[in-house]
Symmetry: C2
Subunit: 398 residues, 2 copies
């Protein structure tokens, strides 16, 4: 196995094991540990309801430091009252005990069904086993253990040079259903060996998330357990990045590359997805209009089923833009499927249906809208809505 994902940077070990939370025996507990206490930052769900493991992490990360994160799949540890909070604290304590660090330095993540308690005997055994299996090549195993309905593990990494030192940023993510801007059932862990202050790590993560993790939509639902957590342990040995400038920009640009790469993998692997859809808007009046329009199109079940069926029904695209809440002049709007223009100045064109069918057969489709109404451009990723989405979600608990 190679060093990949969260174990691509120096000084990180990871593992993934099956502790029995998933009925089908698939891996369901991941551990990522930094050799040294790292600067840590996180972004958390905007949902009013919050899972107990997530609440633990959100609280502990306020110190700006962490050593490890333990994530289980198969159970969300959410909506369980005091018991959920106690289980989260115990899960952290069990991990801290084997790792040999303070409990407050262990972050948590849980994803799965809501309303069922964690089986703490299984968690205890899983943590023990995961600790034994920790390895510098364990990134892929960890990425596998956090999957729920994902069909493949999602990892990315990027190397850059800062002040003559090789710096690496790695990451893993899980998602699939319920993914939507503001952190759906998406969990991602980013690791780097860069030396960077906690303040700048947090700033970079937030900036980057807005054009990566918060720019994907599967079904418009946002979950109670979603988080992106970043660790920076400084082991690359670069001079610490402690102010904005060229080094910070280079770091942020690499972080964006890793994050956008993970985000696109999440959209492509949306539940039942057969196609990745990139929606681009240009010359919008303002940023909020662009965001509203992207959101409405990316969430529209009618647009998404048309893409599944390979149907060039652009009327559904203009319809979604129209009800998005954004103001625009429909008589200026141009729409393209791939490079084929289907609507000019709000009026349908007699386009080549055969060519449209070709474009919609691809497994990556770009939908572009030009509003000729301003200067803001933006983009978002989503997937089609297929028969399998309904099959998967009609019986998730069973």
């Amino acid at each position: 196995m190679a060093k990949s994902g969260v174990t691509a940077p120096k000084g990180y070990k990871a593992s993934g094991v099956a502790c029995g939370l998933k009925k089908n025996g698939n891996p369901d507990l991941a551990m990522v540990v930094s050799d040294k206490t790292a600067a840590a930052a996180g972004i958390f769900t905007a949902n009013v309801v919050k899972g107990h493991s997530l609440k633990w992490t959100r609280e502990k990360i306020k110190s700006g430091m962490a050593r490890a994160i333990v994530i289980n799949s198969g159970c969300a540890n959410a909506c369980l009252g005091e018991r959920g909070d106690k289980d989260a604290a115990l899960m952290a304590a069990l991990a801290a005990d084997v790792i040999g660090c303070e409990t407050d330095l262990v972050l948590l993540g849980s994803t799965g069904v809501i309303g069922f308690p964690l089986d703490m005997d299984k968690i205890r055994a899983g943590i023990g086993e995961a600790y034994k299996l920790l390895s510098c090549e364990g990134g892929n195993l960890a990425a596998r253990a956090i999957m729920t309905t994902d069909t493949y593990p999602k990892e990315a990494s990027k190397t850059l040079s800062i002040g003559g030192r090789t710096v690496t940023i790695g990451g893993m993510a899980k998602g699939s259903g319920m993914i939507h801007p503001n952190m759906a059932t998406m969990i991602s862990v980013i690791t780097t060996d860069a030396a960077i202050t906690q303040t700048l790590l947090e700033k970079a993560l937030k900036t980057v998330a807005d054009s990566s993790f918060n720019r994907i939509s599967i079904d418009g639902d946002t979950s109670v357990c979603d988080q992106v957590v970043a660790f920076a342990n400084g082991m690359a040995g670069n001079d610490i990045i402690d102010k904005e400038g060229p080094e910070y920009d280079m770091f942020m640009s690499a972080l964006l590359e890793v994050s956008a790469s993970l985000a696109k993998m999440l959209a492509r692997d949306g539940e039942g997805a057969t196609k990745l859809i990139e929606i681009r808007v240009s010359n919008c009046r303002d940023r909020e209009s662009a965001r509203l329009i992207l959101n409405a199109i990316a969430k529209s079940p009618l647009v998404k089923t048309a893409m599944f069926g390979g149907d060039a029904n652009w009327g559904r695209i203009i319809t979604a833009a129209g009800y998005s809440g954004a103001e625009f002049d429909p008589d200026k709007l141009d729409i393209f499927l791939g490079d084929l223009q289907v609507c000019k100045n709000g009026t349908g064109l007699l386009f080549d249906e055969a060519k449209a069918a070709e474009i919609l057969k691809e497994d990556e489709i770009v939908i572009s809208l030009d509003f000729k109404d301003g200067s803001v451009s933006d983009r978002m990723w989503t997937c089609d809505l297929s028969l399998d989405y309904v099959r998967i979600n009609g019986s998730y608990r069973s």
Copy 2:
């Protein structure tokens, strides 16, 4: 055939014909004519993009009067530039010519695929034929001719006594996909023989729509062609309702009964729907919170697929409430499926799964949420999201 739907009240004739706009040869042009010029009021889509036929109606109804409405299915007459406006004007003129009234007194509706022009030869022939077939028993034929992916025609009527006179309110509606608050591809025509001022007719229609047509969701998409139009021709001979008071309240209550009945039929006949879902919220903090929560749950593909699969996955319900944008205390929330409580004070209960399965097998499911946070109650109707929804919408144009 009986007097039903729009022809239930005195002085209305209707008809429906197949003029060839639909490839499958189904009826696609409906005409409703009042014997006398009637007071008229309408509610129109909130979509920024508006169909040309709808724009005609929205403009002409400003006079507060109308004689007739002509509605075609099979073509939305939308996004066609000047041509769409010209075709709408011609369609009204053709109908006015056969009816023998001013063109400005003919309202229009069009529903179907966006971006393809109306075939005016077919429309011309269809209007001629529809006029010949007008009858006091034609309500059902009209209701059939406005259908798109609807599986059955939707009609309702209600009789009441005002000042010793029998007053009738009738209506028809079409919908199915794309229905969502603020008038999705929903077209409804309400007729009454009540004598009521235009101002009060409009006020009653708007009030009633907010708890009927604007309380249903199929897929969260709102279309460019949606409208509810009401006619009141005064032929019941009651003293005109010209102020708010007991008569107005009785009228509005009957109008609500007709509208809510049509709205529920629309939700139950959502594309591919196998179940009608009623979502009730109680003791919400304020009206806006209640609306946001109902909307989020009714639109959630995860809730809707769970209902399709008969899966008591209430975690998806609390999740949707949580991301709705409404503020509430999750630790106070109770959730019920039918009369089975599944969540108490935000914490999952060990409920009887067999009983839950029974409840979710019914073709009408009530989901109730008690927020214990205020005094506002509200409700909304939607349907489940099935495999057939995707099948239908993956190839609607073809």
